[in-house]
């Protein structure tokens, strides 16, 4: 293998691979737990595997510019296949593995996919199912042969066979492979990733080698990532973040990518690997915290006292110590003792002992949750980004971390905010185009390279940190002309562990109302402790005591919303607890778990009408989609409750008391 760019800096991911083989040849590049043991591959072995795949793909007839779909859970072989595809001059297109077949049709069709590389039988079945409607798919390749032995193998291949053929055809295709690899440069396409489609059909975001490598380089330098770092790859491969962490930054710095044994073993694998660089969306951190708290309640009196005593101390001085601020000697000493008794073992249980840099993004994180982790001495930070930016728009520098802002512009990123409050950015990571969609490209990215985020926000005067308010299109006006920012209220509601999801309505209306989804894990546990019997999610969600609790939360949120003079009109007057969880399979959320507001509004129109009509209950029928794609119907009669609101005058009194 040769370096493509003679001038020093590698200009493609395959070139970075070649550099890593030369620099870190015998250092582990990938690990995966299989058969109960962590298997590992060095950079040299990785390069050999990738080469065999690339040659095998050439033998199968892959052409320059072909789009190759990659569908499956995070496994080294699938990561390798992405690099192999690039080496063959084609473009990898990772897809969400939990998408149902019909959702895949649009993406496979839009990208004109000729080859699909699947993780297992489940994914193969889906691709074969849509193959009739997407007739461009010629070959399907799978990694795990289980259950596939009896399938017609005319155009179906095992990845291992492709590699064997590649090794056998070494002589024939070596030159062709080298030629194609030599053509890769900073402007050639590195990957195509589909947006989650909050508003419409997913769009293919074309990212070049420049986008990926420059972004990876800048962000890796920002956080001082190095080749001795370990990252756990467990978030969807189709998500831009995973591509940047597990490929961009991993290849730039030479860090090791660790793949869990299965989706169900992630927390155990996390503990075993102890990553130094960790990324998780807020719900993951929240689940961990809930688990800790539940287990603490089962602990003995003395242990509970110890835990609460030291946690209170950590809350007081932990974040300050982490930020390197001045803290008294006695407090430091006590913190050290706490580290010995509580924080250290706790971090170890969570698998976060070795974390140097942790990130959370995707949605707002509750201040208490955020502070909990930081007070333990875990350097958890926030970033703000999107697929179109190759992730990074703003990041929080060490020592300047806060729960309510998303940090300062990432290195190389310029930000401007227009009169309507919308955030625009320009950076080396800005995407090339939406695939086959010049109209959307033009409406998102202007001639000078400024990209509209669709988010409204502002810079804080002190410190220059960016604060996000909401999606621009969701920020509306109430009937009385007051500002309506649903996300602001929803986030406050979601900070309660019992509330999984909240959707607030009120644009153009005289008052705000809300749908609430309870968190089955948290509420179920509470029910167990209080001897409350329930047979289903629906029953628990409609339980009067649950409704009382939720009402308490809504009223507390109303108080806190009322404190903000601009948004005090957004208090929730009436609410109901939904009888089912909002689900991506039903189209109510995106695969990245963001609520699709319009769809929810249409689907539950009857409930919204009831919220505004003053009724105290409403009967409803809802169609649901099961995991295997079958449809069913659930019916329920939902209670609608009124929540106390605080008016402006009253609020002044509350504050005075």
């Amino acid at each position: 293998m040769k370096m493509t760019a003679v001038s020093g800096q590698p200009e493609s991911v395959p070139a970075l691979l070649a550099r890593n083989v030369a620099q870190f040849g015998s250092k582990p590049a990938y690990r995966e737990k299989e058969f109960g043991i962590w298997q590992s591959w060095t950079w040299r072995e990785t390069a050999e595997e990738i080469e065999a795949m690339a040659l095998g793909l050439l033998a199968l007839g892959i052409e320059r510019g072909d789009h190759v779909a990659i569908i499956g859970r995070n496994r080294p072989a699938l990561y390798w296949s992405m690099i192999a595809v690039q080496r063959a001059g084609a473009v990898p297109v990772p897809l969400y593995q939990d998408a149902v077949a019909e959702e895949m049709v649009h993406v496979l069709d839009n990208a004109g996919v000729r080859f699909a590389i699947c993780g297992d039988q489940e994914q193969v079945d889906k691709v074969l199912e849509v193959q009739e409607s997407v007739n461009k798919i010629e070959h399907v390749i799978y990694q795990d042969p289980r259950g596939l032995r009896k399938y017609d193998h005319t155009t179906l291949h095992a990845l291992a066979d492709i590699q064997a053929e590649g090794r056998a055809a070494h002589e024939r295709f070596e030159k062709e492979l080298a030629a194609r690899e030599a053509e890769l440069n900073y402007d050639s396409t590195c990957v195509m990733l589909y947006t989650s489609g909050t508003t419409g059909k997913p769009k293919g975001v074309v990212l070049s080698n420049r986008n990926i490598i420059e972004t990876a380089k800048n962000s890796a330098e920002f956080d001082h990532l190095r080749s001795s770092d370990d990252v756990l790859a467990y978030l969807p491969m189709a998500w831009v973040g995973d591509f940047i962490f597990s490929i961009g930054q991993a290849y730039w710095t030479g860090l090791c990518v660790n793949c869990p044994e299965s989706a169900a073993t992630v927390s155990a694998d996390l503990r075993e690997i102890g990553p130094t660089y960790f990324f998780a969306p807020p719900p993951v951190f929240e689940r961990h915290l809930t688990e800790v708290m539940i287990r603490m309640e089962d602990a003995g009196r003395f242990k509970q006292w110890l835990f609460h005593h030291f946690m209170a101390h950590a809350k007081r001085v932990g974040p300050a110590i982490l930020d390197g601020k001045e803290v008294g000697f006695a407090d430091r000493l006590k913190y050290k003792l706490g580290e010995l008794c509580i924080y250290g073992p706790l971090k170890n249980t969570l698998g976060l002992s070795r974390v140097r840099i942790g990130y959370t993004a995707g949605e707002a994180i509750g201040p208490e949750l955020f502070d909990f982790y930081r007070s333990l001495g875990i350097n958890l930070k926030q970033l703000y980004g999107q697929t179109e930016a190759s992730v990074f728009i703003t990041m929080q520098p060490n020592g300047q971390v806060r729960a309510d802002t998303v940090g300062v512009p990432a290195p190389g990123v310029e930000i401007r905010i227009d009169d309507s409050g919308e955030i625009f950015y320009r950076s080396p990571g800005v995407f090339v185009e939406y695939y086959n969609n010049p109209d959307s490209t033009a409406s998102t990215k202007d001639a000078e390279g400024w990209v509209a985020t669709g988010d409204a926000g502002f810079f804080e005067e002190e410190g220059g940190h960016l604060r996000i308010i909401d999606r621009v299109k969701d920020v509306g006006k109430m009937a009385d002309g007051g500002m309506f920012a649903p996300k602001f209220v929803e986030n406050k509601l979601k900070f309660y562990p019992d509330v999984l999801e909240a959707v607030v309505f009120g644009a153009g209306r005289e008052m705000c109302t809300a749908f609430i989804n309870i968190d089955l894990h948290a509420v179920g546990n509470w029910a167990e402790r209080n001897n409350i019997a329930y047979a289903s999610y629906q029953e628990l969600a409609g339980h009067p005591q649950v409704l009382d609790t939720i009402q308490g939360y809504v009223e507390a949120v109303n108080k806190s919303v009322a404190e903000d003079s601009m948004l005090s009109g957004c208090q929730v007057h009436r609410f109901l607890v939904l009888h089912k969880e909002l689900d991506a399979d039903d189209g109510e959320m995106t695969r990245t778990r963001k609520v699709r507001r319009r769809i929810v509004e249409e689907k539950y129109e009857d409930l919204i009408t009831a919220l505004y009509s003053g009724k105290s209950e409403q009967y409803t029928e809802t169609e649901v989609t099961y995991e295997d794609g079958r449809k069913g119907k659930i019916t329920a009669t939902l209670q609608i409750r009124d929540a106390a609101v605080v008016d402006h005058v009253g609020q002044a009194q509350v504050a005075a008391e």
Binding site: G36, I37, R149, K150, E261, S262, A264, T265
Partner: protein
């Protein structure tokens, strides 16, 4: 006397059903004056999924216990792999390559899933107690091999996440799966499943059906199963034996059995004179 001879054939889904693996000839089992099984004959072919069905108290579990050597019938012979089997203790039957699961889960509650599964390798352990205790020579190699096999089955049945969990803490459906794992790790030629789906919800039943088919497909294991759920039986099995009051009232493919008047009567109930 020999066993029934069949020509191997291939099923529509591509599995090969071979010659007779086991044959029960005129089995009668009595407990004192109670006749549990009365003059029943049937055979099990290599690679097939053979179901034994019937209403409560029909003698299905007794039949399975005869196969596994737990009961010795008063009359009749059990033929296995071409030879007549003398009355035999269950552990000797197990050594012949027959493994089973139980209707009422019989796992070691306090032990982890992995340890439970490892007990299934007992028949493959050649080293002695002392060698294993001091962890010396062959014992170490043997355990590595056994662990590899156990991990292969853990992967196959997708129970990686509970590998270290004590069995007592698991929900019912998973316990059933662990039991299947313990039976499978013995690498049996014939797998006996006693009501593998009893007490499961629809989703768990579907999972278990999938695993049973996969076991048969991937490892070529012959499976004899007892089941109450008619829908499941008809979907899974190649041939079905129907028992009622200790007698065989039907034997054939699911379709044949479904249209058998006696079977319909037994399930829907008619007055017995």
């Amino acid at each position: 006397m020999t066993m029934m001879q069949y020509e191997p054939y291939e099923t529509p889904d591509g599995r090969t059903i071979g010659n007779t693996l086991m044959e029960m000839k005129n089995i009668t089992l009595r407990f004192g004056g109670v006749v549990a099984i009365q003059d029943i004959s049937f055979d099990i072919r290599e690679g097939e999924i053979r179901a034994i069905i019937g209403p409560n108290g029909a003698g299905k579990s007794s039949m399975l216990n005869v196969i596994s050597g737990f009961y010795n019938p008063q009359e009749g012979d059990v033929w296995f792999r071409g030879t007549k089997r003398p009355p035999m203790r269950p552990y000797l039957v197990a050594r012949q390559g027959i493994a089973r699961t139980f209707q009422n889960i019989a796992l070691f509650d306090g032990m982890s899933v992995l340890d439970n599964i490892m007990t299934g390798r007992l028949n493959h352990m050649k080293t002695g107690f002392l060698g294993q205790a001091i962890w010396w020579g062959k014992a170490e190699k043997e355990e590595t091999l056994n662990r590899e096999k156990a991990e292969e089955i853990i992967d196959f049945l997708e129970i990686q996440s509970i590998r270290k969990t004590p069995v007592g803490r698991l929900p019912y459906g998973l316990k059933k799966r662990v039991e299947l794992a313990r039976a499978l790790v013995a690498e049996p030629e014939l797998l006996l499943l006693d009501e593998p789906m009893a007490g499961m919800n629809v989703e768990e039943k579907e999972d278990m059906s999938r695993f049973i088919l996969d076991v048969n497909d991937e490892y070529g294991t012959t499976i004899a199963l007892i089941e109450h759920d008619m829908g499941v039986v008809m979907d899974l099995s190649d041939r079905v034996v129907v028992m009622d009051y200790g007698k065989k009232i039907g034997d054939g493919t699911p379709d044949e059995v479904r249209n058998n008047q006696e079977v319909i009567d037994a399930y829907l109930g008619v007055a017995h004179d």
